[in-house]
């Protein structure tokens, strides 16, 4: 960054002695750069960069992780207040139960799972979605008796705009090949450990047990996997391109939600 051409130095008008026959008292106005802006005086433009992180992603999970640089950190707070949903792909395995709900934990129990069918799993997911939808309406702190509440519920715009426990807005099964299965979960205010706990509880509801093998965030608000930079792309040019591409999206989303 420091190697890029910096700001041009400021110019000011100074009255310099006229060149020519020495000893003459004429002053000529000349525009000269301010000495204080000289790169040797100022030093490198960037000594440190302020980088802030968006929603947390823990060590065992992977996926989209939003960072803000410099003035973008203010946008991060605004994005947090928008309370947009995040989408995860969660992979699970039936037949085992561990103490920290993931497959690297200490084994607690092993169970059979041959009685599980896609139909039963979908039924459980429908109930989870239903109870979370109820929680969504309850935590959004609007009076159920008003006409506005009814209209917003019809449009599906009711969302908790403050602190709330983790809520799953949508959940569905992408594939089920015993003993493995994959779910797509849309959620708000969650942690990855909560998602692993949900996988464990789905196993319990199906009268078996399940552990979570993979948690991958596919979308975080407006940022999807396509916008994310790979490990090989962590260089200045790609970062600058990414920031430029996302600016418009972030601006429109903030205007839409926060007005």
């Amino acid at each position: 960054l420091n190697a890029a051409p910096g700001r041009a130095p400021r110019q000011h008008v100074r009255f310099l002695p006229a060149p020519g026959d020495g000893g003459a008292t004429g002053l000529v106005a000349a525009r000269v750069p301010v000495l204080a802006d000289h790169p040797l005086v100022r030093g490198p433009r960037f000594r440190r960069l302020k980088i802030g992180a968006g929603h947390r992603l823990d060590v065992k999970a992977s996926g989209v992780f939003v960072l803000g640089i410099g003035h973008g950190n203010a946008l991060l707070t605004d994005l947090y207040n928008c309370h947009l949903t995040k989408v995860y792909t969660v992979g699970g395995l039936f037949g085992k139960a561990t103490d920290d709900f993931s497959d690297t934990g200490k084994l607690v129990e092993k169970t059979t799972f041959d009685h599980i069918t896609r139909e039963k799993l979908e039924r459980i997911l429908a109930v989870i979605q239903g109870t979370n939808h109820k929680a969504l309406l309850m935590h959004s702190n609007i009076d159920m008796k008003t006409q506005e509440a009814y209209e917003m519920a019809v449009k599906g715009l009711i969302r908790p705009m403050g602190k709330s426990p983790p809520i799953i807005t949508a959940i569905r099964c992408l594939q089920l090949t015993l003993p493995e299965f994959q779910l797509e979960i849309h959620c708000l205010h969650e942690t990855q450990q909560y998602l692993r706990k949900i996988v464990h509880e789905i196993g319990l509801e199906l009268k078996s047990s399940a552990v979570c093998t993979q948690v991958r965030r596919i979308r975080d608000g407006v940022f999807t996997l396509d916008d994310a930079l790979l490990r090989t792309q962590w260089n200045l040019q790609s970062i600058q391109n990414a920031i430029w591409d996302c600016q418009l999206k972030v601006k429109t989303e903030l205007e839409k939600t926060l007005g």
Binding site: G95, K96, L107, E109, K110, T111, T112, D114, H115, K120, R123, I124, A126, V127, Q129, G130, T131, H133, K134, L137, M144, K145, T146, Q147, A149, Y150, E151, A153, V154, K155, G156, A170, R172, H186, E205, L206, K207, S208
Partner: protein, 454 residues
């Protein structure tokens, strides 16, 4: 002496190997191979086999003091320090001996029936002041009966072939009840001051502690559905005809007059010759659905239930209701509001009261659709449809094809089951631990038949 001690201590050795106990190696962090071996050696538990069947359960909620919920500990707690529970605001499991195939809620009492060929086929609980639950012999005095039945108690039916006849359906009104069997007609019990039991009105008859159960057999064909209104009864036969008896001052018998009828008589009017596939009533208004998807109504119209065809407040002849909502699959009548379900799975409401479209819609004569997004339909779940609709006196209930139950309306004594005591102005999910198969709505309580998930 000190030097000798030091010398002995310096030369101290561990006890000779022969005396050492053979302890296991000290426990340290186990290697990956050890962990994997331990995992594979762990026992596998089986909680449920491949052919495990889903269990059928009954959940009840609402006002408890009448005994209609069938849980005696709500009214008379079995432990001294517990207080009687007035209202059960969330679904509570009711243990039953058999699988319950049909349930009906009346005004303060409930009937449950099973499809079995055992001798006990029908159980009743709640108010019994008019013998709407039959004669429940009191254990203290053999000649007296119970006025309030707190537990599901068997109702003895005078069947000719008790081990062959099956009970198909039950229905409850304000103070009378009807039981439909497959080969022995309809049994009626309870209050008969308006002839709603289908027998002649006897003046000054005392209905409490009465042993009388009347049997109705003479219809043009087999009766396939029985419905109780507040003080009248409707019978639908296999040929598609509708019979009625009982109070008629609001025209709810649909026989062309406003008098009492004590013998079930066939209805004419717009439904003559039409094959009716479903009848419904709970208050004083009645609706019938034909096989072509048309809906007919008669009875009380003070709350604009039939205002689309007539301005009069009582209609005593069935009239066709020309609604352009599509082919109608099911209809349900409440006290002041009505609801229909179309073939596409959309729900339409009209009438008076809390109709389900927010606090601003209080009354309408023309059916208004409830947006399907309130029942959970979205881009994520585009194929959620409402499968059944039911009505209580001022509540509505809808069952989706995913087995979810949505209720809305006036929350009289906690009958909605939402866990709160406020009225609900738009459809709200009731969390039941299972897939809801059927629900019966009463005035202040509800009963649901639920299949467990796995």
């Amino acid at each position: 002496a000190a030097a000798a001690m030091w010398g002995a201590l310096r030369g101290v050795r561990r006890p000779p190997p022969a005396l050492r106990r053979g302890l296991a190696k000290p426990a340290g962090p186990r290697s990956v191979r050890q962990l994997r071996e331990a995992e594979e050696a762990a026992p596998v538990f089986q909680y449920v086999g491949k052919a495990a069947k889903r269990k059928d359960r009954v959940y009840v909620w609402g006002f408890c003091y009448s005994g209609a919920l069938g849980v005696p500990s709500f009214v008379k707690p079995d432990v001294g320090w517990k207080k009687p529970r007035r209202i059960q605001t969330t679904p509570y499991r009711l243990e039953t001996e058999e699988k319950i195939s049909s349930a009906a809620c009346g005004y303060g009492f409930t009937l449950l029936s099973s499809n079995t060929t055992d001798i006990t086929k029908v159980w009743g609980m709640g108010l019994n002041k008019d013998s709407q639950l039959g004669f429940q012999r009191s254990r203290r005095e053999r000649t007296k009966g119970y006025e309030y039945v707190l537990e599901p108690s068997p109702i003895p039916l005078p069947l000719e072939k008790p081990q062959q006849t099956r009970v198909l359906q039950v229905s409850c009104g304000r103070a009378h009840s009807l039981i439909l069997t497959d080969s022995e007609g309809v049994f009626t019990m309870g209050n008969n001051s308006y002839g709603q039991c289908g027998r002649k009105v006897v003046e000054d008859e005392t209905y409490s502690e009465s042993h009388l159960i009347h049997q109705l057999k003479e219809f043009d064909s087999r009766v396939v559905q029985v419905v109780c209104g507040q003080d009248h009864s409707l019978f639908r036969t296999k040929k598609g005809a509708v019979y009625a008896c009982g109070w008629g001052a609001d025209g709810q018998t649909g026989l062309g007059h406003y008098n009492i009828t004590s013998v079930p008589t066939k209805l004419c009017g717009d439904i003559a010759g039409v094959n009716i596939i479903q009848v419904s009533s709970y208050g004083d208004c009645c609706l019938a659905v034909s096989d072509e998807g048309d809906v007919f109504g008669w009875g009380n119209s003070e709350y604009l239930q039939l205002a689309s065809v007539t301005e009069t407040t009582q209609v005593n002849v069935p009239r066709h209701l020309p609604f352009k909502v599509g082919k109608i699959k099911e209809a349900a009548c409440g006290g002041t509001g009505n609801i229909v379900l179309t073939e596409e799975g959309n729900v339409f409401v009209w009438g008076y009261g809390i109709l389900g479209k927010g606090p601003n819609l209080i009354e309408t004569a023309v059916p208004e659709m409830i947006p399907p997004s309130l029942f959970g339909r979205s881009d994520f779940n585009p194929d959620i449809r409402v499968a059944h609709v039911r009505c209580g006196l001022s509540q509505f209930a809808a069952l989706t094809n995913r087995g979810e139950l949505f209720v809305w309306g006036k929350n009289i004594r906690g009958c909605l089951g939402t866990g709160r005591m406020e009225d609900q102005y738009f459809p709200w999910r009731v969390t039941v631990p299972g897939e809801v198969v059927d629900v019966a709505c009463g005035v202040d309580h509800m009963v649901s038949m639920v299949k467990s998930f796995t």
